[in-house]
């Protein structure tokens, strides 16, 4: 079965190291809230601001989730140190979209998937199936891999920090975006979505076919 998604708007950020030029301070003036945010949470809030989507259903994907919090917890246990409660609560995969839902008071359905290197493709499928209900949905994906000693396991990915958002709805229109080349320097889990975002042209319809 095929479903076509109309891409209404896109935004993305990619960098070889941690992205620092964010507007988090302006977007989250409340310091007690801001200081708890993970890097992926900051990226999500930035993208949601850029794409002007704060209310409605959000479908989020990440292959490795909150790697920095996870690594800190592992190192604490290894070194027989106390675990930070904040680090633990921040280690779940749905952390970024949870913080954004709290900040924006978005009480809608918010889902998080993690399907390895195929997370982009699976997020499109999830989004297309959800979008059959007729609403506009935000598809979000992040990878935040710039953590100490990541070189011990990362041999191929050059862009350690990537985040992408697509606002979509279901459509009967014919597809006009086909991604043929994927940048191999991006994390595989997010590359397809970034390439779709790069293809977006605000002066035309942007339709992608999702094969289920």
């Amino acid at each position: 079965m095929n479903l076509n998604l109309e891409i209404l708007n896109v935004t993305y950020l990619i960098n070889k190291t941690a992205i620092t030029n964010l507007n988090t301070k302006e977007l989250i003036p409340k310091m007690v809230f801001r200081r708890r945010l993970t890097q992926a949470s900051k990226l999500c809030i930035e993208l949601m601001h850029n794409i002007d989507f704060t209310q409605g259903r959000v479908m989020y994907a990440s292959c490795f989730g909150e790697l920095n919090s996870t690594a800190k917890i592992l190192n604490s246990i290894l070194n027989q140190e106390s675990i930070s409660p904040t680090e633990f609560q921040n280690s779940v995969y749905n952390t970024p979209v949870s913080y954004s839902s709290i900040w924006h008071k978005n009480r809608s359905e918010i889902m998080t998937i993690s399907s390895g290197e195929n997370s982009s493709n699976k997020l499109l499928k999830l989004g297309a199936i959800k979008a059959l209900d007729g609403d506009e949905i935000l598809l979000l994906a992040t990878e935040t891999l710039d953590i100490p000693n990541i070189h011990e396991v990362n041999t191929s990915c050059e862009y350690l920090e990537c985040a992408v958002a697509l606002k979509v709805r279901i459509t009967q229109k014919k597809e006009n975006i086909a991604i043929e080349n994927i940048d191999k320097k991006l994390p595989k889990s997010i590359a397809l979505l970034v390439e779709i975002a790069k293809e977006f042209d605000k002066n035309r319809d942007n339709i992608i076919r999702v094969t289920l």
Binding site: I83, Y93, G116
Partner: protein, 371 residues
Amino acid sequence: MKTNRAYINNSSCISCAGNSNEELFVAICEKKETIDIDTTYVKNSSVAIGKIKNFIDFDECLISECKKVLKTSNLDDFSSTLLVVGSSVGGMNKTEEIFFKDKSYKNINKKEHPIDAIAHKLKQVFEFYDDISFSTACTSSANALGYAKEVIEKGIYKNVLVVGVDALSYTTVCGFHALSVLSCKPCTPFEANSEGMNVAEAIAVLLVQDKPTKPNAVEICGVGYSCDAHHMTQPHPEGLGAISAMQNALTNAKITTKDIEYINAHGTGTTANDTSELIAIATLFNKHKPYVSSTKSTTGHTLGAAGAIEAIICTMALKKGVIPPSKDISKLKNEEIKISNVVVEKNLNYVLSNSFAFGGNNTSLVFGIPK
């Protein structure tokens, strides 16, 4: 759009409460002691946790549970089946083994670390049409079940295998200990002086299909989602998100509060969860009061597997006409709630199961006898 119905035709589970659905349900009804006291996970502390008994390898258990479901199903294989995994731990337990031994990430397999490690393992043994893994902390497999209902309802898939799975890991046990919510004895959800929760491991597998293949199939009648939009770990004190999820599930099932005869509560045993959830239930079910129990007093909190194992408990309750009892609550935290410390035999039509998670992620499911 098509509106098919979703039926749970086959299921199997393993947990600290038993190696089969029957053993689990007997353990709940007979209020067996299933939780162990452990001194290995948290330095200088005893914590009560739920360990699977009589097994060697967790991965072998995972494969075995899926094989059991396949064997009792009408399928020859899973090649036409969508695999939907719900997990919060994924391959973290494996990562811990390697990292604590090597003190380095070098030998960690990238495919065996993340949440997708579960699907990766299963796809080495079974062929699936496609797969997707949900990871929303403690609602992971409840969301997997909700998605199974949705894709069948919309006529996209006919067969969906839902696998709720979480192994014990140092990260989760020590993490919940850091949050000061672990009990050092078997948990007592909804007891006025409950001391906290028990982390536990489990594997629960359910085959959801668009047609009932057995006379005792159970229907997934409704799913309701909501977000608290309140706090990362504390549920809304008035249970607003929980109320919304339960109401959404009832609306989706096209029934009302008076139709629900039993609620399998999230009921972790923590003060914050239990207080909020009981307020939510008392508020929504203010006229017609169904029985409420938390089976986590027997299974422990199986985190990402909780929604799936509690779905199996709900199907057993519906099939047997038995309301799972509470485990000897002496003083109830909220007197507006109806509980029973003994098994209640009653023909049931609809039951509701709650799952709530970090980030205020709420999911309620309605199960029923097919009409």
